[in-house]
């Protein structure tokens, strides 16, 4: 019995030994074929990865790491409370920050500007409940201001659905947003300009119609006053004749103002016809003298003028040139006190001729120099207007000068006087 047992034991031990040997042999053969991944060290119970397998593992790991680091989108791994565990290279390119600056901090709340912090907290809360898709939240870049980023997550969960890790992907949409904003602003500007143009046209059309309507009754006032003056309705007393004179003067004055308005409206609507010709500068000045002498004499102002080379001409519309210069001299007379002086002369340059109209009036403040050419502007506005007129003369004059390829400018000193300069080209413009 004992013998049998011991024989059986021995046989069993031999079988086990053979079994172990064959297993060892099989392990050696598998190792030879390169089919093993790991050996567990019996002394420390630590698995030792075999070099080839290890190499393959680390190669595939390196490949994934490279893939993630090249990804232009932000790739972040965060703990359930939102603290970053890993961020890829995009944190450098997109936000100008080093990964170690961000690791351990709440990604969204750490880099979110104060005014968007509410949104950042909302995102952190949302992400804990379920994945988000396309949540827009800006982050503060270290060197490039605010970067708008659209976030999508693909979180890791445990088998029973608890959040294990937040995996967030962020794509920079700053440029897209900027382009959208620009497009929007451009559209708004276009709409605003179209509105302004429409409003301006409405105003101009109104002026054109109104000034025409105002002129009609004025013409009948003139006609009937003339009838009375001529005595066709019976003899007049001296007082009646004087009153009629006042009516006629006021009528003429009002007509002048309305004509200004009409001219301005015509200029604005582009209904002005210019008749260009070579016109003599001396002739222009002579006509000006004749027209302004009565005004000057009435106010006891000294009027001086220079003469130019008789052959000098400008390429312009004769009538409009007269209109501009008469307007300048009338203004000078209007703003110069009795015993003041007005000097008109001309100056020749290579391409153009300058007509200067200088006065010894009160002058124009520096800050008003630009606005006097705007329609309806007089230097002093208030309840008491010392100087009559609607403030259109200079606006019309400069528009006309520019239409003739010239310009109208002014220099002035308070208490000394003003000097207006009209420049007109000597030759027909190539343009």
């Amino acid at each position: 019995m004992t013998t049998r047992t011991s024989r059986t034991d021995r046989q069993q031990r031999i079988e086990e030994l053979i079994q172990r040997l064959s297993e060892t042999d099989e392990a050696l053969q598998a190792f030879g074929r390169g089919e093993l991944d790991a050996v567990v060290d019996p002394s420390s119970a630590a698995p030792i990865l075999l070099s080839r397998a290890q190499k393959a593992l680390s190669e595939s790991e390196a490949q994934y790491r490279d893939l993630i680091s090249r990804c232009p989108a932000l790739v972040c791994e965060a703990s359930p409370d939102g603290r970053a565990l890993f961020v890829n290279n995009a944190v450098r390119t997109l936000l100008g920050r080093e990964p170690e600056d961000v690791i351990g901090k709440s990604l969204w709340e750490f880099l979110t500007p104060a005014e968007h912090l509410g949104q950042a907290r909302k995102l952190t809360t949302l992400v804990r409940r379920r994945d988000v898709n396309g949540f827009e939240l800006p982050l503060e870049s270290a060197n490039d201001g605010l970067r708008w980023i659209v976030w999508t997550t693909a979180n890791r969960y445990t088998d029973d659905g608890a959040l294990l890790q937040i995996i967030a992907f962020g794509i920079d949409i700053t440029e897209r947003r900027r382009a959208e904003e620009n497009a929007h602003a451009l559209l708004e500007a276009q709409v605003a300009r179209a509105r302004a143009e429409a409003a301006n046209k409405a105003k101009t059309d109104f002026l054109a119609v109104m000034s025409h309507e105002l002129r009609t009754p004025l013409n009948s006032i003139a006609g009937y006053s003339e009838l009375l003056e001529m005595g066709l309705r019976g003899p007049l007393t001296r007082e009646q004749r004087e009153d009629l004179g006042k009516i006629r003067r006021s009528q003429r004055h009002l007509l002048g103002l309305i004509n200004d308005l009409m001219n301005f409206a015509k200029l604005e609507t582009g209904h002005v016809q210019l008749d260009f010709a070579n016109i003599s500068v001396n002739e222009v000045l002579a006509v000006l003298d004749a027209l302004t002498e009565p005004q000057v004499a009435a106010k006891q102002i000294t009027y001086e003028h220079g003469r130019c080379d008789p052959s000098l001409t400008v390429w312009a519309d004769r009538e409009k040139t007269h209109q501009i210069l008469i307007n300048l001299v009338s203004n000078a007379v209007k703003f110069t006190r009795p015993s003041g002086r007005i000097i008109v002369d001309c100056e020749v340059a290579e391409r153009d001729v300058a007509f200067h109209v200088a006065d010894t009036g009160e002058g124009i403040p520096e800050n008003k120099l630009a606005s006097i050419f705007e329609p309806f502007v007089q230097v002093k506005t208030g309840f008491t207007r010392e100087h009559e007129g609607v403030g259109l003369g200079l606006a019309i004059s400069r528009d006309l000068a520019r239409m003739m390829h010239g310009d109208l400018t002014v220099t002035s000193a308070i208490g000394v006087g003003s000097k207006f300069t009209l420049r007109l080209p000597r030759q027909e413009s190539d343009k």
Binding site: E23, E26, F31, E35, D37, P42, A46, P47, L49, L57
Partner: protein
Amino acid sequence: MSRLVLRLYVAGDGPNSAAARANLKRLLAHCEPSTYSIEIVDCLREPIRTLQDGVLVTPTLIRLEPKPGRTIVGTLSDSKQVVEALGIDGPATMELR
């Protein structure tokens, strides 16, 4: 025929371990699922258990049932050997045809 009980020892996602898993899955594809069970043990996670089970290298497949136990080391790419060791035939026949 008694139920087939297998245990495969692997080292994480190592290439040979992955190959062994894939080969085993392929060989068992045509077996009725109720006739066998497989447990996978990762020696990187459970090195002590691996050692206690007498397994020193991975991948290693052990047939626990039916007795006597059998051990196959490697990627299980030699279908014929594995089929003989496991005592299954279905897919092996197709495989060897």
